[in-house]
């Protein structure tokens, strides 16, 4: 009885020493666990904070965090599972030895349970403690990025702690179960020979290689050529899917196929400089392709995530300008409207509330939906692919235009001015329904409507006409073509729009907007009043939240990347150690060996980086297109963001390579004389 108790007591001890002994693989696993808990806890504790749901304009940020946490869980689970499986592979030998020395499977089970418990406790404690320390700081960062008021108190909620602990309990439980199954189904001899297994040649090498090439090319073509239309999101996911598949096949089969071609050429292969490199690379690629694919995909994800979020955030002012060129707009029915009354009221209220009114414009316009074909605006297309050629055509008079823009344009009998908020109209004449008009000039800018060549998604046109008569003529012809019954009534259905900017303290602005809104709503001509400061604050909260999540996610991706890299270095190290000794015995000098192995390692590690950079370049085309739907048109900002982030990432990648390479060299221990090992 006594003996039995002792045996059960020794198991946790064995578990603990096991963890310590294989520290090189175990500590990173625990560190990854801590970091995972840390990020999850940050998300949880911010989400649980009542403040975030009370703050004005925080709805978007809150929603993004909510989605972010789900995504985080989806990423962390398989990642920790992968790390764990690497770990168990490395430890099989030790466990096999215990088994042979007389530990039964159930004892090993207890041992593994203790280990899992230990790493779970370490991860959760470490993660939550560091999370508690940093969550206030990160919360403030979030508030700053989203432009939300910073003067709020951050409180810890117990739910955040329990949520985190429970989620990771399941993660570690799943890992433990998989370990138990893995050990349970294997025989001790298999456990002993654990890590070593010959690599099989991938079957159907050439077919897979071509599939890889074709899918990757397909993904790139879709990414580069796709344009903004209803299909773009589908295209986006298709491109991502194809690129991942393509990367996988190219790395696993394509590289092997390529090296085999080199190998087949006896002249090239049996050159001293190439011989070891080609055969070594072939072996490495067969063994490590999968983790290289992971490294490549994670790298791409980090770069793209950071590029998207940072360029959106940096381009926020432009986006806001495109979305809301003015701080406020008042839409009224023009036949009842008294333009002067509105202007006077706005100025008067401005004075009362101590805010300055800037750049006030007031104009009448009618918006007509037309189908555009070359220079002709006809009846709108119904359905199908033609849909995207439907545009809104705004008609305003020269008088309004000259007053707004402070110009003195003159138009002849049949002449108009044309403005497009998207790509240039670029025709000398314009056909509007049945009317043929001469374009005197195409305007390149218009105060009331920001223009960008890339605005394909919701471009609209302005036609500035000579006088009210011509305006009426055009509207009538549109009404006839579109079968409007009350043509006279329709011709008078213009809106009077007053738009302006305000300057002043926030409180004053709020008061001003409140009273102006009340006044507008009381008017008979009232249609709509827009306080765009609200809209901008919402946008800011959304894009700031995106950036915040982007940064946290990039950190998580980077951690994944670092760990995969590190584990790969370790497994390569153990293999190279043997080869190193053998090659020295067979007659290669230490210097030669160091040189060739170093070159192989570099090649193997920088292949994923090359892949990631190429994916990023192709991806940028698509991001550029996608961003136009968010009215982000600043291509050069996107490219410079991408360039900066890529450079920073390459540096980071290089550094993490150097850092992990240290472990590699420690394992290989260059310069150890083969005689000592013999």
């Amino acid at each position: 009885m006594n003996k039995k108790i002792k045996k059960w007591r020794i198991l946790p001890k064995l578990a603990l020493t096991g963890v310590m002994k294989s520290g090189t693989v175990y500590y990173p696993y625990i560190a990854a666990g801590i970091f995972s808990v840390f990020t999850f806890f940050i998300f949880s504790s911010i989400l649980r904070n009542d403040v975030i749901s009370i703050l004005p304009h925080s709805a978007y940020a809150w929603m993004l965090l909510q989605i972010g946490r789900v995504l985080l869980a989806i990423i962390l689970l398989p990642f920790l599972f992968y790390t764990n499986s690497f770990l168990i592979k490395r430890r099989k030998k030790e466990i096999g030895l215990y088994n042979i020395l007389g530990l039964e499977k159930k004892h090993i089970g207890v041992m593994m349970f203790t280990e899992a418990l230990f790493s779970y406790m370490a991860a959760v404690t470490g993660g939550i403690v560091s999370g508690s320390v940093f969550s206030k700081f990160l919360f403030l960062l979030l508030l700053r990025m989203t432009g939300l008021p910073v003067e709020v108190e951050f409180v810890f909620y117990p739910e955040a702690f329990t949520e985190t602990a429970i989620f990771f309990f399941w993660v570690y439980a799943i890992n433990l179960v998989s370990n138990l199954i893995e050990v349970g189904k294997s025989k001790p001899t298999e456990l002993l020979s654990g890590g070593k297994k010959g690599e099989k040649e991938p079957k159907l090498l050439w077919i897979y290689a071509s599939i890889g090439l074709i899918t990757l090319a397909g993904g790139y073509v879709i990414a580069i050529r796709s344009e903004v239309d209803s299909m773009i999101f589908l295209n986006f996911f298709l491109a991502v899917f194809l690129v991942i598949i393509g990367t996988y096949f190219l790395f696993t089969s394509g590289s092997v196929a390529f090296l085999k071609v080199l190998k087949r050429n006896k002249r090239v292969y049996y050159e001293p400089a190439n011989f070891i490199t080609i055969s070594g690379m072939l072996y490495r690629m067969k063994k490590n392709a999968a983790s290289l694919v992971n490294i490549c995909i994670f790298s791409t994800m980090v770069i793209i995530t950071l590029v998207c979020t940072s360029s959106l955030y940096l381009g926020l002012n432009e986006i806001l300008y495109f979305n809301y060129p003015y701080d406020a707009s008042f839409y009224a029915q023009s036949e009842k409207a008294d333009a002067d009354a509105a202007n006077e009221e706005i100025n008067a209220l401005g004075e009362i509330n101590d805010v300055r009114i800037n750049g006030l414009v007031s104009y009448e316009r009618i918006a007509l939906s037309c189908g555009k074909e070359a220079n002709a605006f006809g009846v709108s297309f119904a359905g199908g692919m033609q849909n995207k050629h439907n545009y809104k055509v705004n008609i305003i008079t020269l008088e309004d235009y000259n007053r707004m823009e402070d110009k003195e344009e003159i138009l002849g009998e049949n002449e108009v001015l044309v403005f497009s908020s998207g790509a240039d109209f670029a025709y000398d004449t314009v056909r509007f329904m049945d009317r043929q008009l001469d374009v005197k000039k195409e305007l390149k800018e218009l105060k009331i409507e920001p223009k960008s060549e890339k605005n394909v998604f919701d471009a609209l046109f302005y036609i500035i006409v000579r006088d009210q008569k011509m305006h009426d003529d055009l509207v009538r012809s549109w009404a006839e073509e579109n079968g409007v019954e009350d043509i006279e009534g329709f011709a008078n259905s213009d809106y009077r729009i007053v738009r302006f900017n305000v300057e002043g303290d926030k409180a004053d602005k709020d008061a001003f907007f409140d009273s102006l809104k009340a006044w507008c709503e009381s008017r008979p001509e009232f249609v709509e009043f827009y306080n765009n400061l609200e809209g901008r604050a919402n946008d800011m909260s959304m894009y700031g939240g995106l950036l915040f999540i982007g940064i946290l996610f990039s950190a998580v991706f980077l951690m994944c990347l670092l760990l995969i890299m590190y584990y790969k270095q370790i497994s390569e190290g153990y293999e190279d150690r043997d080869s190193f000794i053998i090659m020295q015995k067979v007659g290669m000098s230490e210097k030669e060996i160091k040189h060739t192995i170093h070159r192989q390692i570099l090649l193997v590690f920088f292949l994923p980086l090359l892949g990631a950079v190429m994916h990023t370049v192709a991806g940028l085309f698509m991001v550029d297109q996608l961003f136009t739907t968010l009215r982000f048109f600043n291509g050069s900002l996107l490219v410079s963001c991408a360039a900066c982030i890529t450079v920073v990432f390459v540096i980071f990648y290089g550094l993490s390579y150097l850092m992990t390479a240290k472990t590699y060299y420690k394992i290989v221990r260059w310069g150890e004389s083969p005689a000592v090992n013999a």
Partner: protein, 283 residues
């Protein structure tokens, strides 16, 4: 320890038979002292080793583990340096070869067969065999020409495209022998070549060694297996860092050799019995 040796055994002098030919390999007064990392403890692995090997000889060096035979082989292989003494191969002193040229020297003049085969998993057997030739910059045609008769002789023609992890231990060792022979070395150094093989594969390999020797190849093998040694033309016994006995085959059969070797070993071992007493006195 040294005292105990001089005191107890009359070391058997091995006279060089200068009447026939100049010796291919000469080992003169070789001494090796290992120093532990911090220099605190010095271990003398080889005391004063003298012997020579002539061209076409098949010599086995026997000794228990710890007797210094692996140290000796490493020195012969130029993988390690003697603390003092000389090793001459064809009259060339190994310790005078510069570090930079050592690899090339080893490649061109020595062939190695190891206990654990030392084949690279990254290369097919063919490429493993080619490795020393590729490093020496020999053309593919020439390599292929050299390989075919050798592979035939060693019975590995069908295995050449396989990888080391796909074949058995005996097959691996035969490929390793092929790698050692393809450079046409002056001497093949074999370190416990049957150590990792089963008895059947061992027997096959030893027959192979005898055949190779018959066709003129000089072989020096280190082993503690009586069976392995019984195939050799001459057996040197090494103990505690000294060569102190040798047996010539003459016209004896393998079985007779086996008997002689085991007798010699028994004598050596029983002769060792007073050692603890002497040890006590010496220290």
């Amino acid at each position: 320890m040294a005292v105990h040796f001089r005191f107890f055994y009359n070391r058997i002098k091995i006279y060089e038979r200068e009447d026939i030919r100049m010796a291919l390999l000469e080992v003169k007064n070789v001494k090796k002292i290992y120093t532990t990392r911090f220099g605190a403890v010095k271990v003398q692995a080889l005391h004063d080793v003298n012997f020579s090997v002539e061209e076409g000889e098949y010599v086995a060096i026997m000794g228990e583990s710890g007797s210094g035979k692996t140290t000796l082989l490493n020195i012969l292989a130029s993988l390690d340096k003697a603390t003092s003494g000389k090793v001459l191969l064809n009259g060339k002193n190994l310790s005078e070869i510069k570090q930079k040229q050592l690899c090339a020297f080893r490649r061109d003049h020595l062939g190695f067969v190891f206990q654990d085969f030392n084949l690279l998993d990254t290369l097919s057997l063919r490429d493993n065999i080619f490795l020393p030739l590729v490093l020496a910059g020999i053309s593919y045609g020439e390599m292929d020409k050299r390989l075919s008769p050798l592979a035939e002789k060693l019975g590995i023609v069908d295995l050449l495209n396989k990888y080391p992890y796909e074949v058995s231990g005996g097959q691996k060792q035969r490929a390793a022998v092929c790698r050692a022979l393809i450079t046409e070395p002056e001497i093949v150094l074999a370190d416990e070549p049957t150590g990792a093989l089963d008895s059947k594969a061992s027997a096959k390999l030893l027959r192979l060694f005898a055949d190779i020797n018959k066709s003129g190849q000089t072989i020096l093998m280190v082993t503690h297996s009586i069976q392995a040694a019984s195939h050799a033309g001459r057996i040197l016994f090494i103990k505690d860092g000294c060569v102190f006995h040798q047996i010539y085959r003459g016209n004896r059969s393998d079985e007779e050799m086996y008997k002689m070797i085991s007798d010699a070993l028994t004598v050596l071992q029983t002769g060792n019995s007073p050692a603890p007493f002497e040890n006590g006195e010496a220290s």
